[in-house]
Symmetry: C2
Subunit: 373 residues, 2 copies
């Protein structure tokens, strides 16, 4: 039982579900014959990283240099910083490397590559550089057939920096909601990465790392021949965004926001929770396939889904839950707890400094997080 005097909203992390999810992706990586380098942008927690590494992960991925510093302090040195580097961050990268970080940085830009090469030459720091490839997501990265690809490799390779390999992310796996469609995106992700690597090898360079990944493609790829590692993050806890795309079932979701019923607006037919836009985030990522879910699926205090009960709108500190009938006001009295399954775990978790770990229905400990930049 969850104790009744908590200062809600509280971010709960179900340890058993977490472990099942971690095992599921690790098994997928093992089956596909690639290393798993989990993306800690979701959990941002050294305790979580420890569990991941104990479960077979090789190295970690981060989304900020603050995360890189935090994980290094906690003993994790094999780190890929998977956001395009800007030159002003090279001194901080150098500092982290001097403290022992085996830190990989990333670019997709010739001018930035020249700056990295120049910094590396003048300082002697062997920056390790991945090139980002766009496999269809249209975020970062160059196309695998872009002429600049080989020029960037040449530029890095001719300097004191080290060319490490290629990296891509199939963010467009979130545009679909069938396993067959995800498989097709996973094939595209792999094919594009391998195509880029092949071009580079044909130009005479080694490509030690060929890194791909997203939660959907990591779980449903049929074949990753030629790929060396997989990156994914949200699979550790899942969320309604993933559920709406068929990547997990609702029972897999390990993250929830424990909230208190703080009001009954009977005239408007809604229950008010103390989990609003700040506590849940305003992510509407499930809208495309399950718009009825709004800002979160309502569950009881033990995490059992309550059918047809959703956080349909939010203000800063209020979540609005339309009731199904007047009985709901009796079932969920003021002061009672409800758990909300988040739409997008990464966004929701970022509002909290720590997770409350739930094991066999009881909060047993807390895991801290590193937020901000």
């Amino acid at each position: 039982m969850i104790s009744s005097d908590l200062n809600t909203p509280v971010l709960l992390l179900d340890k058993e579900k977490l472990m099942v999810n971690i095992h599921r992706m690790q098994s997928s990586a093992d089956r596909l014959g690639v290393a798993l380098r989990p993306h800690l942008k979701t959990l941002k927690s050294a305790d979580a990283a420890r569990v991941l590494v104990q479960s077979g992960a090789r190295g970690i991925t981060v989304s900020t240099l603050r995360e890189a510093g935090y994980f290094l302090e906690h003993g994790f040195s094999d780190i890929t910083y998977a956001i395009s580097i800007v030159p002003s961050r090279l001194p901080e990268v150098a500092r982290l490397m001097s403290l022992g970080a085996d830190l990989k940085i990333m670019t997709d830009n010739m001018e930035v590559a020249r700056v990295i090469a120049s910094y590396a030459n003048s300082s002697g720091i062997p920056y390790r550089v991945l090139i980002e490839i766009d496999c269809g997501d249209q975020r970062g990265g160059i196309k695998s057939d872009n002429e600049a690809l080989i020029s960037i490799v040449e530029c890095i390779d001719a300097s004191c920096a080290i060319f490490e390999g290629v990296l891509t992310h199939a963010g467009h796996a979130y545009d679909v909601n069938s396993i067959f469609a995800i498989e097709a995106v996973a094939k595209q992700e792999r094919d594009v990465a391998v195509h880029a690597a092949t071009r580079i090898r044909n130009a005479g360079y080694d490509v030690p790392t060929i890194s791909v990944g997203s939660t959907p493609t990591g779980l449903f790829a049929r074949d990753l021949t030629g790929v060396s590692e997989l990156r994914a993050g949200v699979y550790t806890v899942f969320d309604m965004d993933q559920q709406s795309r068929g990547v997990c079932v609702v029972e897999d979701i390990a993250l929830s926001v424990l909230s208190s019923v703080i009001g009954h607006n009977k005239a408007a037919g809604k229950i008010l929770l103390d989990a609003g836009g700040l506590a849940l985030s305003k992510d509407r990522g499930a809208d495309k396939f399950r718009p009825e879910v709004g800002y979160g699926q309502v569950c009881d205090v033990d995490g059992q889904v309550i059918t047809d009960l959703y956080v349909k709108s939010v203000s800063q500190e209020h979540g609005h839950v339309p009731v199904r009938n007047a009985d709901d006001f009796k079932k969920f009295p003021i002061g009672s707890y409800l758990r909300i399954l988040p739409i997008h775990a990464c966004m929701t978790a970022a509002a909290y400094d720590r997770f409350a770990l739930v094991e066999k229905g009881v909060i047993t400990t807390h895991w801290d997080r590193v937020n901000g930049w």
Copy 2:
């Protein structure tokens, strides 16, 4: 000039604009003959509260008890906690009162009123209780003609707790975007609050506080006769949500996120910023009236609006800005700064521990914030 080696994203607060905005609402309250009790849910900063009180504010409003504790520590004792109280929070309220807080709590529920009365009687703590009225927002509050209104007053008044008055918030002022329509909502907000107070007075009770407010209604109310105080928060900095409703002009917006250009996806025609969903929030509050703004208006490093340049989509750490033409890639090279005017200031600011204060174009100091619960 903003120095070029900042660790972006950085939350900038323009001091001059802040002061103009503070003066504008204070003048409105003065003109209307009501006290101004600013809502610190937006700025969550003791430095900001100091400026507000020096500018004429009487007391403050908060949205969490953590804020109440923080502001008390910093010397602000006259505090209204404007979220429905749940019984489990009464011990913390008592603790803050014992430390010197003149803390007003709020309910709209008969059962909660009974619990407050019972706690007050058994502990001797004179909880000061406001009743929340729903003036059309359909969030918290009972209707001013609800029979329970007088029963709640009776219950509180018969105990060691103190009945303090009524409070309402015209959140539905955000449903409209003309000054005339806002004026009509402001009239409704005032009329409903005064109606509730009149019923209570007719039942034989004093009503010391009649509290109304929102940024739009606070600025555009024509007459607040019978009202004692005004609450509003986002007016201090404004945002694109307010601008889209005609409440401010874009030049009034005092809050912005300084971000770095981290990528040029020329194939997709977009600039990538290091201000994504976490740095800006995923609030889409401007969609109703200005959907083109997306997740934020792009400005140059000095805060000048760049016409037709918007953050159209976000992922966790990326903001995607479609370029107008190929020239934009030259104008905004990788590593250069852009400022983003947020959609919803309260949501955006919550991702940061502090504001960087900008005065005459230079960061002069930092103001800390209290986030979380």
